[in-house]
Structures are given as structure tokens and as C-alpha cells.
Amino acid sequence: MDSADLAAIWLTLKLASVVTVLLLIAGAPIAWWLARTRSRLKRVIAAAVALPLVLPPTVLGFYLLLVMGPHGPVGKLTASLGLGLLPFTFPGLVIASVFYSFQLSPPPIARMDSVSCCNLWIGEITSVHRVLGKTDAIFRTKSIFGARFQP
């Protein structure tokens, strides 16, 4: 194992920690809203959250590169703010990872339509799988918590 390997492991750990914390902070309110709301927007938001699930990672990555690149809206914004461009930087990695992993954070929480707080992490991903029409089995493997806490 050379220094490049160690650097890769270190970067992975750092990225995973930062993204996990951000997802807990960002995921909970959206999940809470998704669980309670009767808004018509519910399905739209739930679908938007689940969207990265149906896009292959390389496709999602390509569009993130486009949006954050020098010709993309986010890229133009960060450049005009004097922040430079996000791709190939640590903040860029964090943003892309949050985007990609976001699907995994609210859905397990969103089940708690009427139930107790413990169900929060146990739940299956009913709201999302209704939107996509997929089976439970697929979602159980996709949910971080589902496998361990099958009801």
C-alpha cells in the first residue's frame, strides 16, 4: 500500500463522515415533512428525492459535472462569487455525494405516517416505492436500515 492508497482511504473516510452528518441534518426535516404533509407537492418532492436511485451514477455524475462546470449555472455562480469551480475539490465531492446519497436518507424516515418514533428507522420505504411502483424486496436492499430491522 503506497501513499496514494492511504490518501484514498483517508479521503473516503473524511468524505463519508462529512456526508453522513449532512444527510442526517438535511434528511430528517424533509422526511418529517413528507410523512406529515397532505400537500400535492408530496409526490413530486418524493420523486425528486428518489430520482438518483433510477439514474446510473455515471449519468448523475456527468450532469453534476455539467451543472458545476464552467458553462453550468452553479459553476457560473461559484466562479462569480470568487469560489472557483467545484469539480475536483473536496466541497465538490461532498455536494455530489450528498446528492447521490440523499435518496437513502429520508425514505426510511418517511414511513412514520402515524406511528411512533421508533418506527422511524425501522420502516420500509412505502412512500417512495408507491411512487416508483417497485417491490419491497428491492427497497429493502437499498435501505441502510431495512436489512437489519425487518419488521
Binding site: 455515471t58 455524475g61 456527468f62 459535472l65 455539467l66 458545476m68 462546470g69 464552467p70 458553462h71 453550468g72 469551480l85 469539480p87 475536483f88
Partner: protein, 248 residues
């Protein structure tokens, strides 16, 4: 009863379809030509080629760990040879289907000069290449920069793609001003399709001899054998040539 008949019919259809499919691992540089070849192959033989694209080294690891590929179209000669020696490739099935060309490319039509001087002038922030550990085109790019005596100077500006397609994406989106990619990604019928490029001279890197190999999982099956034969035929060769590859 009609239900059972229907079920039987379905099962038969599925079984028939499986028998006529071939799972192909394709080096990323061959993406566009191979999609075209697979379409011709299906039309002419009725067999369907299911293509997966990626870095040759990654495919090696997947095949060694039991991935169900039946044919590998590698971006080098070493990987097919190694697979054959390890009993994962069918002995005697290897052949060279193309010789790849390395180019320095930019999406900006004015950035890369025909002599590649831009590398020395250095007015760019990022230089994209494919991971040299897994992608033969990445290794060739390292070798070319080494021969030019620019490797140490350029290394801090590297951005590495997992495979050559990702390296190209870095450049297409403008996030890297330049990148070492495969000619086949930006060339069709004698013309550059976009941007500007420098054809890296042959003496700067060892020839990228791209070999195909029939894998153990494809042994004695009709569709993989048909694909191997098809790749040697004139129709496939014409497609490969049209993307700037050399042929033996």
C-alpha cells in the same frame, strides 16, 4: 389450463432469448463503435450482444471474481493473455481486433495545437486522463508524458477518470481544459467530431494493441462464438477503422 400454456410459452421464450445472448465486457474506448457493431451483429445473426463498458483492469478483477462475461474486448494485449493463462480465457481464442491511438484533446476548438506544444506552455489547470492502474490508455498517457520529460511537472494537474469515458467527460464539460483520451472517442470517418486535438506520435508510447478473448463462461456456446467470428469479419472491421483505429 390456458394459464399454464401461457406460462410455458413465456418460459420457452425466455430460455430461447438467453441462449442467443452474449455478455460482452467492452473497453470504454470502444463504446460507440461496439454499439454500432452489436446492432449489425444482431441484425445479421439474430444473436443479441449485451454490452458493458468500463476499464480493462476493472473487468479483469470482475472476471477473476466470477462475473458472467463471455467475451472480453480489452484495451490491451496483457489482460486477455493473463486471463488465458489463468484458465479464465479460452486458449487460442485471442486475436487483435484494433490498435488504438492516443490523443490529447480539448473541447475548445482553439486550445490544442497540432504539435502538442500546449503541454509545455502549460496554460491550463486540469489535465484529464484515465486511471493508469486500470486503463491502458491512462498508462499510455503516462508513458508519453514521461518520454516528453513533462511527467513530474504535469502530475499535480492530473484529474483521473475511472475509465476513458469519464476522462473524456471531464473535458467535454469543460472542467478539465485538456485530456488524454482515445482517438475513437472524438473521431469519425476521417474527421475530428469536436474540439481540437494532437495525435500523440506513435514513438511516445507503446502501441495500444487491443485484443479480444473468448472467456471460459462463453466456451462452446453459439452466440459468443458467433460474435468472435463477426469481429474478424469485414463489416466489423470497417466500423472499427472508421473510428480511427489501425488494424492488423
Amino acid at each position: 389450463m390456458p394459464r399454464l400454456t401461457l406460462l410455458a410459452a413465456l418460459l420457452l421464450t425466455v430460455a430461447g432469448a438467453v441462449a442467443d445472448e452474449v455478455q460482452v465486457a467492452v473497453a470504454a474506448n470502444l463504446m460507440t463503435p461496439m454499439q454500432q457493431i452489436a446492432a449489425l451483429f444482431e441484425r445479421e445473426t439474430g444473436h443479441k450482444a449485451l454490452l458493458s463498458f468500463g476499464a480493462t483492469g476493472k473487468f479483469y478483477a470482475q472476471i477473476a471474481n466470477g462475473a458472467p462475461f463471455e467475451v472480453l474486448l480489452a484495451a490491451d494485449g496483457e489482460t486477455p493473455l493473463r486471463l488465458e493463462k489463468e484458465g479464465l480465457g479460452v486458449a487460442g481464442s485471442r486475436f487483435t481486433y484494433a490498435i488504438g491511438k492516443l490523443v490529447l484533446w480539448s473541447a475548445d476548438p482553439d486550445r490544442v495545437d497540432a504539435g502538442g506544444a500546449v503541454l509545455r506552455i502549460g496554460n491550463f489547470r486540469h489535465l484529464a486522463l484515465a486511471n493508469p492502474k486500470t486503463a491502458p490508455y491512462g498508462a499510455a498517457a503516462m508513458e508519453a508524458m514521461n518520454k516528453l520529460g513533462l511527467l513530474a511537472e504535469l502530475q499535480p494537474r492530473f484529474v483521473q477518470g475511472e475509465n476513458i469515458t469519464q476522462a473524456q467527460q471531464f473535458v467535454v464539460t469543460g472542467n478539465a481544459e485538456l485530456g488524454f483520451i482515445a482517438l475513437s472517442q472524438v473521431y469519425k470517418d476521417g474527421k475530428l467530431t469536436a474540439g481540437s486535438m494532437w495525435m500523440v506520435p506513435d514513438n511516445l508510447y507503446p502501441p495500444i494493441v487491443q485484443d479480444a478473448v473468448l472467456l471460459a463462461k462463453g466456451r462452446d456456446k453459439p452466440a459468443p462464438a458467433a460474435l468472435m467470428a463477426y469481429l474478424r469479419g469485414e463489416r466489423a472491421k470497417a466500423v472499427i477503422r472508421s473510428y480511427g483505429y489501425e488494424l492488423r
